[in-house]
C-alpha cells in the first residue's frame, strides 16, 4: 500500500445509521484507470463521496498521498441547468485553487480555460448558457471544470449516462488520453458494455467489494450475477465484449456466453 495514491482500509459508510458498505479495503495506484461498476443504489456514488472527503467514514481510514489534488465530475442530474452561467464560467469555477483573491478572473485564468475548451472542442460554445448545450457538450464542460484544476486523481460519476454514443466514445477517448498523460482515473458507471472494451481495470461493487481485476477476468456471468443479482450473458467476439441482461437477451442466446449460432458481423458492423 506504500505506493498507493489512495488507500481505503476497513472503511465503512452509512447514511442515518443505515450502513451502505462495511470493512472495505481498496487501493488505487498512480496512473491507474479503473471503473467502478454495480447496480444503482449499490453505493458507488457514496464511495466516490467518501474518497473526495464529502462524506465521513463511520469506521476505518482513507489515506491519500500527501498533497494529492482531486477532480470530480458529478452526475448530470445533480446540476441545476437553469442556473445563469455559461460554459466558460463553469470551467472558470474550477480554477478556484489557482486563481488570485480578486473576484474577477485573471488573464492567466482565461488563457487556461480557453486552452482546455479548445482541447475538448468546446470553443464555439464557450459563451452559451449551459442549458443550450447537448448532453455530450455539457458533460465535457464539467469534465473541463475538473481538469482545469490539473488533478492527479479524477473521479467521475456516471459520465456517459444520458449522452449519445459518439459523445460516450469521445469522453472515453479523452479519459484514455489523460490516463496516458499520467492521471489516475476512477469512473463509476453501470454501463458495462462501454467499460468492457475501454477500461483496463474493473471494480465490481455492491454494498462492498465483490471482486476487482481486468475486464476479461472480472466480467463473467458468475461475478456479474453476484454484483447485479441478475442473470447476465457475456459474449466475446474478436476483441469485443458484449453484456446483456438474460431476460432482455435475444431468444437465440441459449447458454451463458454462447450463442445457438455463431454470431457473424454483418455489413453495418452489428453482430447478429
Amino acid at each position: 500500500m506504500s505506493h498507493a495514491l489512495l488507500a481505503l482500509q476497513r472503511v465503512s459508510a452509512a447514511y442515518a445509521n443505515q450502513p451502505v458498505f462495511t470493512d472495505l479495503d481498496l487501493c488505487l495506484t498512480p496512473g491507474q484507470f479503473a471503473a467502478l461498476v454495480g447496480p444503482t443504489g449499490g453505493g458507488k456514488s457514496t464511495l466516490l463521496k467518501l474518497i473526495l472527503g464529502l462524506l465521513p467514514c463511520t469506521q476505518g481510514s482513507v489515506q491519500r498521498l500527501p498533497q494529492v489534488t482531486m477532480g470530480y465530475v458529478p452526475q448530470r442530474e445533480m446540476i441545476d441547468w437553469r442556473f445563469p452561467v455559461t460554459a466558460e464560467q463553469v470551467v472558470l469555477m474550477g480554477r478556484y485553487r489557482h486563481t488570485s483573491y480578486w473576484p474577477w478572473a485573471t488573464r492567466a485564468d482565461r488563457r487556461e480555460v480557453a486552452a482546455l475548451l479548445d482541447r475538448l472542442g468546446l470553443t464555439p460554445y464557450a459563451r452559451r448558457h449551459i442549458r443550450q448545450l447537448s448532453g455530450g457538450q455539457q458533460q465535457r464542460v464539467f469534465l473541463a471544470r475538473a481538469l482545469v484544476a490539473r488533478p492527479q486523481l479524477l473521479l467521475l460519476d456516471e459520465p456517459t449516462t444520458g449522452v449519445d454514443l459518439k459523445s460516450q466514445h469521445d469522453i472515453l477517448h479523452l479519459l484514455h488520453e489523460l490516463n496516458r498523460e499520467g492521471m489516475t482515473i476512477l469512473l463509476a458507471t453501470h454501463d458495462l458494455n462501454t467499460i468492457a472494451s475501454h477500461v483496463p481495470w474493473v471494480i465490481c461493487f455492491q454494498h462492498g467489494l465483490i471482486v476487482e481485476g481486468p475486464p476479461e477476468t472480472v466480467l463473467t456471468p458468475d461475478i456479474l450475477r453476484q454484483t447485479y443479482n441478475a442473470d447476465m450473458v457475456v459474449l466475446r467476439q474478436d476483441d469485443l465484449t458484449f453484456i446483456a441482461n438474460r431476460s432482455l437477451a435475444h431468444p437465440h442466446v441459449a447458454q451463458q456466453g454462447t450463442l445457438a449460432h455463431r454470431p457473424r458481423r454483418v455489413s453495418d458492423g452489428i453482430l447478429r
Binding site: 442515518a16 464529502l54 458529478p74 442556473f83 445563469p84 452561467v85 469555477m93 478556484y96 484544476a149
Partner: protein
C-alpha cells in the same frame, strides 16, 4: 417633475426614501443567491424567526437589533445543521425552525401585555418612522453586504451552483454559508423598520426572480436584481405617498407588477 419633488419637502419622506432605496438594493442583491440556491422560503422564514428574537430581546432588556440579529443567525445555523440530515428536506426544517421561533414571539406578546406599537412596526414596517440612527444602520449593513458579496464573489457563485464540487475544489462552503446567513440576518434586521418581517421575503425574492427572466448571466443578474430592488422601492415609496397606502405593501406591489410585466414580455 413636481410629482417627484413635492414629497421631498418632508424630512420623514426623504429619510424613508433613502432607507427604502438602500433596503431595496440590499434585498435585491442578496435575493440572487437565495433564488438561485432555491432557498426562497428561507428569506420568508428567517424574517419571521427574527421577530421571535426581537420580542425575547425586548423582554430581556437586550438591544433589540443585537438580540434579533443573533437569533436570526442562530436560526440559520440550526437550519443548516438540520438539513444535513437525510431524513429531512430543507423546506420542512425551515418551516419548523422559523415558525416555532415566530410562535415564541407571538406567545410572549400575548402573555406579556406591555408591548407598544414598536412591534407593529416590526411586523408591518413603518418607513415614516425611520430615524437618522436607523438610516445609518441600514447604510452600514448595505455597505458591509456589498463588500462581503464582492469579496466572496467566486466562493458564493461556486457554492450556489454546485456545493459538493466547490467543497472538493477547496471552497470552505460551510463558512461561506455561515457568512451568508450572517449578512442575511443583518439585512433582515436592517429592513424590518422599512418593510416589516411579513413583507421582507417578497423584496428578497421578486427582484431576483425578475432579473433571472431578463438574463442568462450571473454577474448581470446581480446588477439587475440590485437595480430592480432599488427602483421598485423608490416607485413603491411614491405610490405609498400619493395613494396613501402602507409603504411596505406598495414596494412589494411595485416589484410584483414589474415581475408580471417582464413575464408577459418574455413569454
Amino acid at each position: 417633475m413636481a410629482f417627484f419633488v413635492e414629497p421631498l419637502q418632508y424630512q420623514f419622506f426623504v429619510h424613508g426614501l433613502v432607507a427604502a432605496l438602500l433596503v431595496g438594493c440590499l434585498c435585491g442583491l442578496l435575493g440572487v443567491y437565495i433564488v438561485l440556491r432555491q432557498m426562497s422560503y428561507i428569506g420568508h422564514g428567517l424574517s419571521h424567526a427574527v421577530f421571535g428574537g426581537a420580542v425575547v430581546s425586548h423582554l430581556l432588556g437586550v438591544n433589540i437589533y443585537v438580540g434579533a440579529g443573533l437569533w436570526g443567525f442562530g436560526a440559520a445555523v440550526l437550519i443548516q445543521r438540520l438539513t444535513t440530515r437525510r431524513e429531512l428536506h430543507a423546506d420542512a426544517v425551515i418551516g419548523i425552525v422559523t415558525t416555532a421561533s415566530f410562535a415564541v414571539g407571538v406567545a410572549l406578546m400575548s402573555r406579556v401585555h406591555r408591548f407598544t406599537q414598536d412591534f407593529e412596526a416590526v411586523l408591518f414596517g413603518n418607513v415614516l418612522g425611520v430615524s437618522e440612527h436607523d438610516l445609518l444602520l441600514i447604510a452600514v449593513v448595505t455597505g458591509l453586504t456589498g463588500l462581503v458579496v464582492t469579496a466572496l464573489y467566486k466562493q458564493l457563485l461556486f457554492s450556489a451552483f454546485d456545493e459538493a464540487v466547490a467543497q472538493v475544489a477547496g471552497v470552505p462552503t460551510r463558512l461561506v454559508y455561515l457568512l451568508f446567513a450572517c449578512i442575511l440576518a443583518l439585512a433582515i434586521l436592517a429592513s424590518m423598520q422599512v418593510l416589516g418581517v411579513t413583507l421582507i421575503a417578497a423584496t428578497i425574492v421578486i427582484p431576483a426572480a425578475t432579473a433571472r427572466l431578463l438574463t442568462h448571466s450571473f454577474s448581470t443578474m446581480l446588477v439587475l436584481s440590485t437595480a430592480l430592488g432599488g427602483v421598485t422601492a423608490l416607485g413603491g415609496m411614491y405610490l405609498s405617498y400619493y395613494v396613501d397606502i402602507a409603504s411596505g405593501a406598495s414596494i412589494v406591489l411595485c416589484a410584483a407588477l414589474l415581475f408580471v410585466a417582464v413575464l408577459s414580455i418574455r413569454r
